[in-house]
Symmetry: C2
Subunit: 505 residues, 2 copies
């Protein structure tokens, strides 16, 4: 950590790190559970997670932590705004954690670890009915958590959302949705028919799995992902986890031997998350100043890389010739325009993680509506499948033929992550505004991408976003970076411009 810190801040930082080391071990337990653990390790793993959660909770909520926060608060008052932010965020975490009794924290950890396993077999067996009681347990537990956390008679859902996206309420999120949804629906209606004419045959022409991984690793390295501080593994669902950021940040991906887009864009997406974690300030690791602002800001980074840059014209100027060389006979006669159009093809579909950039946010809005109603007690778990299918029809005009490709498709609700989905849409909103700022700062950004130069972009994001940690709230950070308050319409304007350009009427 920085030298010459005031004494009480210094003491607080040490105490925060003591708790954070346990948090890092918990992250590793989770990563291992998803990537390495043998099947029968599940039962003892839940106990291990429960035990470490107890320890983490004890350290995060200790009187000693409270005393150190109070001492540091006195010390920094009116001083260096970064130190003020450090103490403010430490206090927020401590106060929130204090409201959750230790046994509830453990119960949540153990139940969610178990229900994640149950979800996995439910999805594989397309069996919502068997999973239902387990999911009810999770919902009931998370409602108890929300009740413990909320101030006065505030909304239960807001309380949970605040964990992932501090400062954003359900009503505010709803307002963003209301502003954007009609224009998105309109855009899908315009673009989807035009996309039916596109040449997309080559996308599913079959791609050697090893070579897919080599190619995406090459892109990852050119983005600036540092393999001495991370690794890439295979899982059913790609994810990024900062075990001890910025020094150990791991990502996972999947490979479809037919369709190259799954591997490629999931690697770029998780790579965007990983650049954020690897770009956190090492001097402040283990403290709020060395941690991500929010999940929405996190998602802005992954979606910027995956969509705004990774599916851009400029990006493929550099990478398409390399793609052709890596997969001879696959896209030899596909023009640059055809290729870029194909990887941006707008097509309403059932699976969120495979959705295009335009329809994606509608998948999120559906989930927000359902989880909001669930947590507020307005619908029951057993109603989920029907409501899911009805909303899919309304928003996207498609309907699942099974729960596996419907309500069971996502991991989030099984692991107790309610209030998490909104951050995906917020990431799109933040990202569009950050991209505008990036282009003002680097007017030649497209030329850089076209030359395969992605390090200046990482530098800029690093300085403007990654290194800020939790000094600002999401909305303040976006304003700090771009000079303007968040304009939720910036995202849809960006999409409208892109659709008009790639798929003209």
């Amino acid at each position: 950590m920085p030298n010459d810190l005031p004494e009480a801040v210094n003491t607080l930082v040490e105490e925060l790190r003591r708790a954070n080391h346990i948090g890092s071990a918990l992250s590793l337990l989770g990563w291992d559970q998803e990537t390495q653990m043998p099947a029968q390790g599940a039962a003892p793993r839940a106990d291990m997670i429960g035990a470490l959660t107890e320890v983490h909770h004890a350290r995060a909520t200790s009187e000693s932590m409270g005393d150190k926060i109070a001492a540091a608060e006195d010390e920094v008052r009116g001083g260096d705004p970064r130190l003020v932010a450090l103490v403010r965020e430490a206090k927020r975490d401590w106060q929130r954690a204090r409201k959750i009794p230790s046994d509830l924290a453990q119960e949540v950890a153990v139940t969610c670890s178990r229900s994640l396993m149950a979800w996995r077999s439910a999805r594989a067996g397309n069996d919502f009915k068997t999973f239902e009681p387990q999911l009810k347990l999770v919902v009931a537990l998370k409602r108890r958590v929300a009740e413990a956390l909320r101030e006065g008679d505030g909304s239960l859902y807001d309380t949970l959302l605040d964990e992932y996206e501090p400062g954003i309420t359900g009503a505010q999120f709803q307002a963003f949705c209301d502003a954007v949804k009609p224009r998105l629906v309109q855009l899908v209606a315009e673009a989807a028919p035009r996309c039916q004419e596109l040449r997309t045959d080559f996308v599913t022409a079959g791609y050697d799995s090893d070579r897919q991984l080599e190619f995406s690793r090459e892109i990852l390295e050119s983005m600036g992902y540092d393999f001495t501080r991370g690794r890439l593994d295979l899982t059913v669902h790609p994810f990024c986890t900062g075990i001890s950021s910025p020094n150990d940040v791991r990502i996972t991906t999947r490979v479809d031997p037919k369709d190259f887009t799954h591997n490629l864009f999931s690697v770029i997406h998780e790579g965007g998350h990983a650049l954020y974690e690897q770009g956190l300030d090492p001097e402040w690791s283990g403290t709020p100043l060395g941690a991500a602002t929010s999940l929405g800001i996190h998602e802005s980074q992954s979606r910027l890389y995956e969509n705004v840059y990774g599916r851009s014209d400029a990006f493929w100027v550099h990478w398409l010739p390399r793609f052709r060389a890596a997969f001879p006979g696959r896209a030899d006669d596909v023009t640059h325009e055809q290729f870029v159009a194909a990887v941006n093809c707008v097509r309403p579909s059932l699976i969120r993680t495979e959705a295009d950039e335009v329809t994606y946010s509608l998948h999120v809005m559906l989930r927000f509506e359902l989880e909001h109603a669930l947590i507020e007690g307005n619908i029951e778990v057993e109603e989920l499948p029907d409501r899911w299918n009805r909303l899919m029809r309304e928003l996207l005009g498609v309907e699942p033929t099974s729960d596996a490709e419907g309500v069971l498709q996502d991991i989030h609700w099984s692991m107790g992550a309610y209030g998490y989905f909104p951050t995906y849409f917020l990431g799109n909103l933040y990202g569009a505004q950050i991209d505008r700022a990036a282009r003002q700062a680097m007017p030649d950004l497209d030329e850089q991408l076209a030359r395969g130069e992605m390090l200046p972009l990482r530098e800029w994001l690093g300085e403007k976003v990654h290194m800020k940690g939790r000094q600002f709230s999401s909305l303040d950070l976006v304003e700090e970076v771009s000079g303007d308050p968040l304009d939720p319409l910036g995202f849809v304007e960006y999409l409208e411009e892109k659709v008009a350009r790639l798929f003209p009427a």
Copy 2:
């Protein structure tokens, strides 16, 4: 755990498991460090290990644990001998752990994690000089540990040895060495020249790496290793770790694309360890009755499988045809006799882990002599390389040309494991006596092996050894299994018989 436990024992078991969950997390941190962790994860990893060690130590030494042990001790007095043993061993662990101050325990964990990394680069760079200060730190720390642990003015080395092999003293171990060493040296002198005539060219004829792994996995499965409770990974040094035994027991191996023996016999060896951990009593997991007796007994299992069975005539009756089919053109014209002789070839060499069954124990005696002198303060770290080389010449007639193939070859001293090496030789002694008992109980054991049937052997070892946990000391267990006190000469007699049979004068 078993139903209807007396109340105080039940409470103690819960308390033991609370500590054990943290121990499991520590095992995972260690496994990950060796198999998955990116290079720059090392620094935060040491902190994570330090933090969890602190927690583990606090739980293992708590007043509350002491109270529960005392209550259980009263409750079981004169009752069920298994419960008496449970409490006795819990008390032993608690008393030992109480003697180590928490900061010392953490310092050891952090220093050893760091020095393991330093050893790795020292070995790669053949640079003992740079590693020396780090190793001195470790030796000094372990001497402090021994001072904290020892009773009265007992020997420091004995105190450390007692951690790995409870009940065996340095003097006792020395007596075993004195009894066996001259006959081993004599046996090497007889066998080595005869082995020079053997046909061994095919051993290093080049073997496809993937197929080696397939073949050794097949053997592992036939031994009874359960992949739903474990996994096999690649590391520089093969090892087995019970993360949460018996449900999550992982092994690692290495592959030499030229020489098939490295992969094959390391898998069988680690498989022997893994069968032990997977064979522990699940009802008692997380307690001394669900843990291995000692490292010596552990090693008896791995060396039985690797050498006594895995290099036997009978074993290869079944497996040689499969070996030939898996690696066409490699051993087509090698007779059964030639094959078995080759994998038992006696040849004094520099590297312990590659040593044959006859010379192996001499490598261990060398390390015992040096580490004993080091811990007792009779030699200094800087003297190690010369003394190592001199002893190699005396015992085995060979001399390293670099420290990388001399004193730097093993991981143990860098990670603070003093008193660990003796367990390798003890494993040989125990194993020979357990094998005799197995053959009395199963007179057709060789016929079983010749048919590729290894599950009855695992059943028998499971019942006689694995399921016993820490109910008996090593020596008592060997006597319990075989009906006789340990005869250290049994091992050398077994070798003399084998050498006379495979390599007649």
